[in-house]
């Protein structure tokens, strides 16, 4: 036990010696709307196999660049905070079509290799189901319902990974796992789990 303690202490000390200077700076975000905004489009799969499409936009509000000096050279981590908006739909065969839109905030960490981690929290969400032929029975009368379906408040949370591309209008791709809650649903709530896989792009091409 004592040995382990000494080894840990030494390891921590070496790590301390090994650390170089760390610089943190907040980049000036571009002033142009088109430079600050990325759009995205991709596959949306409710429970993987209910196919759908997903799109949206991300608007940069803050960018923090952390540079660590390492022996191999500087290591730059970019952390972005973005306003996030999504819309999409999926098709549950023969049962319903689900459409949704949600808005919130997105945090993205990009490492020097361009690999990204995304966390989205979208507290403002709206979900509308579209049902097939529906009849309402009320007071012994039956009437066909036009545009049948239900609306729900639908906040969501997503976590995922991505890859940055620097030299193209296509700025990256992403794979997210989403967790959406429909409420009130029946007497309670309904969780929906889905994946999204897609591409982000800018309208204006990035400078090389």
């Amino acid at each position: 036990m004592k040995k382990i303690g000494v080894i840990l202490l030494l390891a921590l000390s070496f790590q301390g010696f090994g650390q170089r200077k760390m610089k943190v700076e907040f980049n000036k975000v571009p002033t142009s709307f088109w430079n600050r905004t990325e759009f995205k489009v991709g596959y949306f799969g409710n429970m993987l196999w209910n196919p759908g499409l997903n799109g949206g936009a991300e608007y940069l509000i803050r960018e923090k660049v952390k540079t660590k000096e390492r022996k191999k050279g500087p290591k730059t981590i970019i952390k972005k905070t973005l306003l996030n908006g999504n819309f999409g739909f999926y098709w549950d065969p023969k049962s319903h079509i689900g459409t949704f839109t949600n808005y919130g905030i997105l945090w993205r960490r990009t490492n020097p290799n361009g690999k990204q981690i995304n966390v989205q929290f979208n507290p403002l969400g709206y979900y509308r189901s579209f049902l097939p032929e529906t009849y309402e029975v009320s007071n012994n009368r039956v009437r066909k319902v036009p545009l049948p379906g239900r609306s729900y408040f639908a906040p969501s949370l997503s976590v995922g990974v991505g890859k940055l591309r620097k030299t193209s209008k296509l700025t990256g791709r992403y794979l997210n796992l989403n967790f959406m809650v429909l409420t009130p649903y029946n007497t309670n709530i309904l969780p929906l789990v889905s994946i999204t896989y897609g591409y982000r792009f800018k309208i204006q091409k990035n400078k090389k």
């Binding site: 098709w91 319903h96 007497t187 789990v193």
Partner: protein
């Protein structure tokens, strides 16, 4: 990258076009494949209708649970045989399967659910004509709901016949019948030297169950143990093995969202249990009010709802035309264990009474 996106978008568009085209196929009454939603008292409930509707004979299946789903039953001889002789309506009850909506916990109880069944009949009449004829079939909890539906007002007049399959028309009595039947079957199996370790264990546990009054924990134990016991009986070849049929699994997983079905069903089961359905619902004393032709189908080794319950129903039903069929090699679901015999009985009943 652009090429990849182009190919992906093209493929997706093609898939959607094909799927939408298939879903918009024209209705063929001889081989109906349709889905209608019934909106009633805050709920939107799907009814999946499949089979031969040329004679406008509809067999409405009420699923078990509470909290099961209609399409669980679309497999084996129901799909392959019964759908040839009539249109089978696989109905997702309020708060179950893919049913959705918005209502309070007061908005779901057995009376409202019985009204939902009548609403379903009215919708089918509106869609396929007032001359449509209906049979009602309830399995397990569906037997409770079906009985409640028939006992309300003049609802019986809507149906040509009632089929109860291992049904729970008396949930209050079920608790005590479960205790008795576990004792009987355990004794029988111990005498036959079958799976002694299991049945001796069950025998000990069942003697510890409160047999003076309903106890929720004991009730849950017996319900869970009943399904295990049927597995044991199956392994001792006292039950016929269900045929390998992945249709039901496919329907549950791919046509229903399994997370939605599991989540909604669990909630609904919880809400109804909290209302005291297990200790309060008892229709045996009112079964004489049911006078339409009735068919009672029961598995001999139904450990969930013992055959004594079926015999009681037979003795008490007020129908002039009634039949009790015991499936000697079945458990709680004779439609799986003895699928052909099940289909023959159902089709025979429909033919005699339509």
């Amino acid at each position: 990258m652009k090429k990849i996106i182009y190919i992906n978008v093209k493929t997706l568009t093609l898939c959607f076009s094909i799927l939408f085209f298939l879903s918009c196929a024209k209705e063929d009454l001889g081989d109906l494949n349709n889905i209608l939603y019934v909106r009633h008292k805050g709920a939107d409930m799907p009814a999946y209708i499949h089979g031969n509707a040329s004679e406008k004979v509809f067999l409405i299946i009420l699923h078990g649970g509470p909290g099961g789903s209609g399409l669980e039953y679309r497999s084996g001889s129901i799909k392959n045989e019964i759908e040839k002789s009539c249109a089978v309506v696989y109905f997702d009850q309020r708060g179950s399967g893919m049913s959705q909506g918005r209502y309070s916990e007061d908005g779901i109880n057995i009376d409202i659910m019985a009204e939902d069944v009548v609403a379903l009949v009215k919708v089918i009449q509106r869609k396929y004509g007032a001359d449509s004829r209906f049979f009602l079939m309830g399995h397990s909890w569906g037997g409770t709901l079906g009985t409640a539906t028939l006992l309300h007002g003049t609802n019986q007049n809507l149906f040509k016949g009632w089929i109860e399959v291992d049904g729970g028309h008396d949930l209050k009595q079920l608790y005590f019948e479960n205790i008795n039947y576990f004792k009987i079957v355990a004794e029988e199996q111990i005498a036959a030297q079958n799976n002694l370790a299991y049945w001796n264990g069950v025998s000990v546990k069942i003697n510890q169950v409160d047999d003076t009054q309903y106890n929720e924990r004991d009730g849950d134990y017996m319900n869970e143990e009943a399904f295990k016991a049927e597995e044991i009986l199956l392994s001792d070849m006292l039950l016929d093995s269900p045929r390998e049929d992945f249709t039901s699994f496919g329907n549950t997983v791919f046509r229903n969202n399994p997370l939605t079905t599991w989540w909604s069903g669990g909630n609904t089961n919880g809400v109804l249990s909290d209302q005291g359905i297990w200790e309060n619902i008892s229709y045996t004393n009112r079964l004489h009010e049911i006078t339409i032709p009735s068919l009672l189908l029961w598995g001999k080794y139904d450990m969930v709802i013992p055959p004594k319950m079926g015999e009681d129903a037979y003795d008490n039903l007020g129908s002039d035309e009634k039949k009790f069929v015991l499936f000697e090699r079945s458990g709680h679901s004779p439609m799986d264990n003895e699928a052909d015999k099940f289909a023959n009985e159902v089709i025979g009943f429909l033919d005699s009474n339509k």
